[in-house]
């Protein structure tokens, strides 16, 4: 009898714990949150308002199309007012999907055009054509083929105008973790004399390409993971990075159990590139790059 009571008490307690954990970390966030809307709407709407105000200026103030670095903010496309914040409405399913795809392409082009006015390099991630490219001033500098990619369900399920809103503005990088150094600077002390200088002389060799695994956290809650196509040999930095990141995630989950504040669900995109392309991409981009997304 005592054993039975013990059994049922333990089982019930464990069951309650399971239910509590699943409710707090999975059910409540998934049911109550819209990961694309919670973080995106307010920011985008303010930006849209500004663009509408800009477009209210008379046409003669909207400068003619300029080339190269002389893209001014005044030259933002006149047609911006027509599209950015429009909802996908009415019509047959086929037409709606056509319009939806057109708008996604339009978003990409508009964002690229707007980013061309800035001095920084930016990343263009086209998941439809499977191309990741680095651009500067509207000039594509390097294009990488995306060999494989996956999009988390939290993005896929919002295949609607919410997605259009979410991707309508470039994403700004908040922070990143990687297995490679962005700028691998070696510090060298000047030799005291020519003898020391000659003894220090080393014939240059091609730099060793380390395994690449990048976790890029963008604003609007987007997480982009870039992994290499090549299989890493032995126990690599990639494994240790993944492990440390996993630990952080577990800590975050445990923290969320003890507080009432719910962590936001991270919409995640994982892309696979060649190791060399992933390295080029990470090293070419500035510390806080912007990214344009088409999916």
């Amino acid at each position: 009898m005592a054993k039975k009571t013990l059994f049922w008490s333990i089982t019930l307690l464990l069951l309650l714990i399971v239910v509590y954990i699943l409710t707090t970390t999975v059910i409540m966030p998934v049911v109550t949150q819209n990961p694309l809307l919670d973080t995106a709407t307010s920011k985008i709407e303010t930006k849209v308002d500004k663009s509408v105000k800009k477009s209210e200026k008379p046409d003669n103030q909207v400068k003619k199309s300029v080339k190269g670095e002389k893209v001014s903010k005044k030259s933002e496309p006149k047609d911006q007012e027509q599209v950015v914040d429009e909802k996908v409405i009415t019509g047959s399913q086929g037409d709606q999907l056509t319009l939806f795809e057109l708008k996604k392409t339009e978003n990409l082009l508009r964002s690229r055009y707007n980013l061309a006015s800035e001095d920084s390099m930016y990343l263009v991630l086209d998941l439809i054509d499977k191309i990741a490219s680095i651009e500067l001033k509207g000039v594509p500098l390097h294009k990488s083929k995306i060999t494989d990619f996956s999009i988390s369900n939290s993005i896929k399920m919002f295949h609607t105008e919410q997605l259009l809103h979410w991707i309508s503005q470039p994403f700004l990088l908040k922070n990143s973790v990687s297995t490679i150094a962005r700028v691998p600077i070696a510090v060298v002390n000047a030799p005291k004399d020519t003898i020391e200088a000659n003894s220090n002389t080393v014939l240059p060799t091609a730099p060793v390409r380390e395994d690449v695994y990048l976790i890029l956290n963008f604003e609007r809650n987007l997480q982009l993971i870039i992994q290499q196509e090549e299989i890493s040999e032995g126990k690599s930095r990639v494994d240790s990075l993944k492990l440390s990141y996993k630990k952080k995630e577990i800590d975050k989950t445990i923290k969320s159990l003890t507080t009432t504040k719910r962590e936001l669900v991270n919409p995640q995109i994982v892309i696979t590139l060649k190791k060399s392309d992933a390295t080029i991409l990470y090293r070419a981009l500035p510390l806080k790059p912007k990214m344009v997304l088409r999916m």
Partner: protein
């Protein structure tokens, strides 16, 4: 014997349930993002796409037309951003260059870029040997220009630099036949060390092979763009 086995099973089998629950606790802590992802999939089964609504084909047709015209406008505007004149793209990670005319590639090849070294001099003065990234314009094109050796060139060799205007600093032939200045003392130039082309060995300039340099020199004009990434 059989009854003994059965009673053992009856006694301990129910304890599988708490074990499963323990496993679920650990799994839900470790695999939270994956479980959330699957939960979103389940949620999507119950969520209708917002694309469907009442019929107003005229409205949507107009929107498609507008969108198409916007697309062509934007594509034209983006095409206008590509430089008219030939331009060079330098990849500092792979140490390669590409000479383009509009969207066509005229020539590609190897080059050498900055070795990413921070040299600390005797009095704590620092020099960073790194190729800058971004968009640059050709400021000056020169032929057979000498190299005025800067202080770091001496300090790196363990030699005390001569006075700033000393003629000892002038060195002929080190920069190859052509030099293309892009500002801040950075140049695209030739090299005596052709075996190192393709490796990051320079002090920030971009070194090119003789033939490549000649083609680039002949194609670029003053004001032409040089993109380095």
């Amino acid at each position: 014997m059989e009854t003994e086995d059965k009673s053992w099973f009856r006694k301990y089998a129910p304890w599988i349930i708490p074990f499963i629950l323990c496993y679920l606790i650990f799994a839900s802590l470790i695999y939270t993002p994956q479980i959330q992802n699957n939960a979103f999939l389940v949620k999507s089964w119950f969520t209708q796409l917002n694309l469907t609504s009442s019929s107003n084909a005229g409205g949507i047709g107009k929107q498609i037309q507008t969108s198409k015209s916007n697309l062509s406008t934007l594509q034209n505007k983006l095409s206008d951003l590509i430089p008219d004149k030939p331009y060079v793209i330098v990849n500092t990670t792979d140490n390669r260059f590409e000479l383009r005319n509009s969207k066509d590639t005229i020539r590609t090849g190897v080059c050498s870029t900055g070795k990413d070294v921070l040299l600390i001099g005797p009095k704590g003065k620092k020099w960073l040997f790194k190729t800058p990234k971004g968009m640059f314009s050709v400021l000056l094109k020169r032929k057979d220009a000498p190299w005025i050796k800067p202080d770091w060139a001496y300090i790196e060799e363990g030699v005390k630099p001569p006075s700033a205007r000393s003629e000892d600093r002038i060195e002929y032939g080190s920069l190859g036949k052509y030099q293309i200045s892009i500002g801040d003392n950075y140049m695209l130039h030739g090299t005596l060390y052709k075996r190192f082309l393709g490796l990051p060995v320079t002090h920030g300039c971009v070194r090119l092979g003789d033939e490549d340099l000649e083609v680039i020199f002949n194609n670029l004009e003053k004001g032409s763009k040089v993109f380095i990434f």
